[in-house]
Symmetry: C2
Subunit: 115 residues, 2 copies
Amino acid sequence: MVKYEARLDAIFTALAHPARRAMLARLGRGEATVGELAEPLGVSLPAVSKHLKMLERAKLISRGKNAQWRPCRLEEAALNAASDWIEAQRKIWESRLDRLESYLHTIEQRDRSKR
Amino acid sequence: MVKYEARLDAIFTALAHPARRAMLARLGRGEATVGELAEPLGVSLPAVSKHLKMLERAKLISRGKNAQWRPCRLEEAALNAASDWIEAQRKIWESRLDRLESYLHTIEQRDRSKR
């Protein structure tokens, strides 16, 4: 459980920066090198490397073994873990609204039968 | 655009802590006071207040006007903004996989017709 929570911490922290989200959006369209990720962002290679480390730690991306290029690739499982958590909250929330609606409906019916 | 990005930064930062996620999960089941949120977490009221401020800043929750209780309430729109962003990435990723599949299929067909 703690491991799952720590994983979500790392994923949401990694998603909490516009440069890292832009890098993930770019990687969704295909693999890219550090240079290719840096260019449209207009940030330095060391800055991009730092962001990449956070994305790697969250397992949102993986990197190739080729020492020279080490292309970056999106790993969908981590994005799924984040959306699964949000989806679970939505289900709790919606089932609560459903219960509330059915309760209001019951009261309405009771009031009508009393008239 | 910058405002939208800043909003996502605040939302994902707020989601990046187990106590704040637990508080949101609790609020999904209904409104709660600061005390009710603090108790199951076993953390101090000041610590909970700090977490609440981050959730409020991200507009993930709102608080009642009643000065004494100020019950906290989940605001679904912010959770939707987070899942919409993730969903958009998934769509880019999936359309890329679809294109890749259709490309591989075309090659396969061409190879067969050459035999």
